[in-house]
């Protein structure tokens, strides 16, 4: 029996089996917000603009105690910058994201779609203008950041309508994105980071330079962390068609070390440039992934 209020803590593949992206994302967000009882994102300004009805997950410190005492109703105070937070989510839709090491798991793309939908829902519920950009070799979908009703549905539709692409060119997408964000905002890059690190970091550094808060979600299948397989196998890169014959057992140790080194390099480089980096495995419950962002 699945507890619909805590879908955020269940196995992602099981949760994905409950329905489409919308249902899953809503369930995850409900469970997630019920668990943390505060909004995961905060604005930058303290200039009060208006009240809005309290929603689960909102921080209690923004609760207007006077209204509560007077009318026995829950309202939270909103501030100028918060209401105008513009978040753009960049989703890597390249071919490599459509891979999974085990049929019982979600592909990286499947996992990322649901995570992005949940994240967007949380942001929109906070009345943060949220947009989406999907890319592979080129930018495939751009949904500008809005806070109006129906935005989340558009975002989900954008996710669904973006097919699995070919190669990965994050640097171009990031540069294009910087043009879309006129004011300082939040940029969330969701990718398996099988791309040119230096180019991507250059673009991320540029975004930071423009004053944006940048978060990188590095999505990896558990099978990408530990090499396994038959005694000898020809592994082929789905994006470049390059291949290599290896004996997984004799290379597993070196491979694991290389992957650990790569993750550490990303983490280190991001920290150096003020970019938040989070490593997410596709078998990680969505709630835990979202909690990394808080």
């Amino acid at each position: 029996m699945v507890d619909s209020r805590r879908l955020d803590l269940l196995d992602p593949a099981e949760v994905a089996g409950l329905g489409g992206i919308e249902i899953v994302a809503q369930g995850v967000v409900e469970g997630f917000l019920a668990g943390i009882h505060r909004s995961p994102f905060r604005g930058f300004s303290v200039e009060f603009t208006e009240h809005r009805a309290y929603q689960p997950g909102d921080e209690l410190r923004y609760l207007d105690w006077k209204i509560l005492a007077r009318a026995d109703r829950l309202f939270v105070k909103q501030f100028e910058e918060e209401t105008n937070l513009r978040a753009m989510i960049l989703l890597d839709a390249s071919r490599s994201m459509a891979w999974r090491g085990d049929p019982a798991r979600l592909t990286k793309r499947g996992y990322a779609d649901r995570l992005v939908a949940a994240l967007a829902l949380i942001l929109l519920r906070q009345r943060d203008a949220t947009g989406l950009m999907t890319f592979d070799e080129a930018v495939r979908q751009v949904i500008p950041a809005r806070v109006k009703a129906g935005q989340w549905t558009r975002l989900v539709r954008g996710l669904i309508d973006t097919p699995d692409g070919l190669g990965t060119a994050a640097e171009a997408a990031l540069r294009q994105l910087s043009g879309l964000l006129a004011r300082r905002g939040l940029v969330v890059l969701v990718s398996d980071l099988l791309l040119d690190r230096e180019l991507a970091l250059t673009a991320l550094r540029y975004l930071r330079h423009r004053g944006h808060q940048v978060i990188v979600l590095h999505v990896m299948d558990p099978a990408e962390l530990d090499l396994a397989g038959p005694p000898e196998v020809r592994f082929r890169d789905p994006e470049s068609a390059a291949s290599v014959v290896v004996r997984p057992r004799e290379l597993a140790e070196a491979y694991a070390a290389t992957v650990r080194r790569e993750i550490a390099a990303w983490r280190s480089a991001c920290r150096r440039h003020g970019v938040a980096y989070h490593h997410i495995r596709t078998d990680m419950p969505f709630g835990m992934a979202l909690r990394l962002l808080t």
Binding site: R95, S96, W99, D192, L194, E224, L227, G229, P230, E232, V233, R234, F235, R236, D237, P238, E239, S240, A242, S243, V244, V245, V246, R249, E250, L251, A252, E253, A254, Y255, A257, T258, V259, E262
Partner: protein, 572 residues
């Protein structure tokens, strides 16, 4: 290095199998998508050197494993140095002679164990290590070299018991060495397993090149021993000689006599005395009735029991009734007078001694007048005697197996004694020609018993000689002789009469257990290696000892397999 199964080496072609498998294994691996190929390439780049080394190591290990297994199957034999005699050790085909001294002295008990048991165990060990390709001999105390298979000779060793015989060690070892030296085999060994009694060594030495002589070292300690060396019943009584360790204390001796025709249980004590090794004592015997008496001399039991008892035979006969004619000369007359006083002869017509043939038993001397020779010869022929006097013969000395008292005595004048039946009846010879013969009841002498003819009348043995002539030779009786063998008496009979006896007993030299000195050993066996039990075990077949290293190779194979498994199963 040689191989017991060289055909198995054809299997070395299989060393190519690992390389072939290595190549075949690489041909068509399955394909799979794997996005983080860049990580894989990085990992491969960083591990390339290690992986190449690992693959090379695995290839070498597998190839070596196959080679080692094939080599083990071929049963390689390699030369190894001395020391050790493990189960895997073999040796080049060897001619081996084991000299096992099972003479009487080997039955001595030293440190609570018969020496022979130890010698047999060592002989067994030598033979047990022999291979089918070896040529084997076993030489026992009888000096006979027995060739045979390992199993047959092991059975002979098991069945060997101490014998009364004395082993002439040096000639026996020399014969054994020459036997093995004649074999066209790569190695030749003689193992001498003896108590190395001092008395077993003569003056000879073993000098046969190309033969490895391994001599068991003499025991560090031997017990003092005493044995009855001889017991002879004579006119003066029973003469007993004691042999054994020089300087040993005197030992009590008991003589017992068994009346003729009675069982040994009826034997009675005839006297007691005391004697030390090297001494000879005479024990007076009580008056005995005529006949052949068997007696024994016993001494107290000691570590060597085989020489503590010796048999003897006493012949008691009625004195011969002798008459002598005037032609016998003064010396014979005097001797007969002495014998009459001693009651060895009495006057009578049973035996006549003289120049003429008597009516009964006769001892015929050549006549002083050569003209009478023909007459005497005709009388002899008429009596049916197959001997007669011939032409004069050259001077010489007397030789006789029977009459010890006349051996070496000079003969100046003599007639040749010529017979028609070969040498039958010859009792003594001069220059190899019959000098004293007997045929029926007639005895012919080639010389007159006079000092102008022979020095015999002046010799100490003259009276005993005349005694023997009258009481024994003319009667056709053989002397009581002694021989080496298991203690027993063997009588010589002619018809219903007993005419002689042989008394068997151990060789008296066996009683002295004193081992040979190092100098004696070096002199007798100049090229031999004198070793203790352990040394002998280590040096047997050491010259060409080889080891079947297939077991070692299989162990190495297991080790290689374990290493291969470890290398193949580890990813680093």
């Amino acid at each position: 290095m040689t191989f017991l199964h060289p055909l198995a080496l054809l299997g070395l072609a299989a060393v190519a199998i690992p390389a072939l498998l290595h190549l075949l294994e690489r041909r068509t691996p399955p394909e799979a998508e794997f996005p983080p190929l860049r990580y894989l390439r990085d990992a491969e780049r960083q591990s390339a050197r290690r992986l190449r080394l690992r693959h090379l190591l695995l290839l070498i290990l597998r190839t070596a494993l196959v080679a080692v297994i094939v080599l083990a199957a071929a049963r390689p034999i390699v030369p190894i140095g001395g020391g050790g005699s493990g189960s895997g050790a073999v040796h080049a085909p060897t001619a081996l002679a084991v000299v096992l001294d099972n003479s009487l002295s080997a039955s001595a008990v030293v440190d609570g164990r018969p020496v022979l048991d130890r010698l047999k165990a060592l002989a067994r060990a030598s033979l047990a290590q022999a291979a089918p390709a070896d040529r084997l001999w076993l030489v026992l105390a009888d000096g006979v070299a027995r060739a045979g298979s390992r199993e047959a000779l092991l059975a002979s060793v098991d069945g060997a018991t101490a014998t009364p015989q004395r082993l002439e060690l040096v000639p026996a070892v020399e014969r054994a060495a020459r036997l093995v030296a004649a074999e066209p085999l790569p190695a030749r060994e003689v193992h001498v397993l003896s108590d190395l009694q001092h008395t077993a060594f003569g003056a000879g030495r073993v000098d046969v090149p190309g033969v490895t002589e391994l001599v068991l070292a003499p025991p560090a300690r031997v017990p003092a021993n005493r044995g009855v060396a001889a017991a002879r019943a004579g006119e003066g009584g029973l003469t007993i000689a004691v042999s054994g360790t020089p300087g040993a204390s005197p030992t009590p001796l008991v003589a017992r006599l068994q009346p003729p025709g009675n069982a040994p249980a009826r034997a009675r004590e005839a006297g007691r005395t005391l004697a030390a090794p090297g001494q000879s004592v005479t024990l007076p015997l009580p008056p005995l009735a005529p006949g052949w008496w068997i007696g024994e001399v016993l001494l107290d039991a000691d570590e060597l029991r085989g020489d503590d008892r010796r048999l003897f035979v006493a012949r008691v006969a009625e004195p011969a009734r002798v008459t002598a004619d005037a032609g016998v000369g003064p010396f014979v007359s005097a001797a007969l007078a002495v014998l009459r006083v001693a009651k060895r002869v009495v006057a009578g017509g049973e035996v006549s001694i003289g120049e003429r043939l008597g009516a009964a038993r006769s001892v015929v001397l050549p006549p002083g007048d050569p003209a009478l020779l023909g007459q005497v010869n005709r009388a002899l022929a008429a009596r049916g005697v197959r001997w007669h006097f011939g032409s004069p013969g050259p001077p010489g000395t007397i030789a006789s197996a029977d009459l010890a008292m006349v051996r070496g005595v000079q003969v100046n004048r003599r007639y040749r004694l010529e017979g028609t039946e070969g040498d039958s009846g010859v009792v003594a010879t001069v220059n190899g020609e019959p000098w004293l013969v007997r045929d029926g009841g007639v005895v012919l002498l080639g010389s007159r018993l006079d000092t102008t003819w022979t020095a015999l009348p002046a010799a100490p043995g003259f009276v005993p000689f005349v005694d023997a002539l009258a009481n024994r030779i003319v009667r056709g009786e053989a002397p009581v002789t002694e021989a080496v063998g298991a203690p027993r008496v063997q009588f010589v009979t002619r018809g219903a009469d007993t005419v002689g006896a042989t008394v068997f007993g151990p060789d008296p030299r066996e009683s002295d257990l004193t081992p040979a000195t190092a100098d004696e050993l070096r002199r007798a066996f100049p090229d031999a290696r004198v070793l203790g039990d352990a040394g002998l075990a280590a040096e047997r077949f050491a010259g060409t000892r080889r080891a079947d290293v297939s077991g070692l190779l299989l162990g190495l194979g297991l080790l290689l397999a374990a290493i291969e498994l470890a290398v193949a199963s580890t990813s680093r």
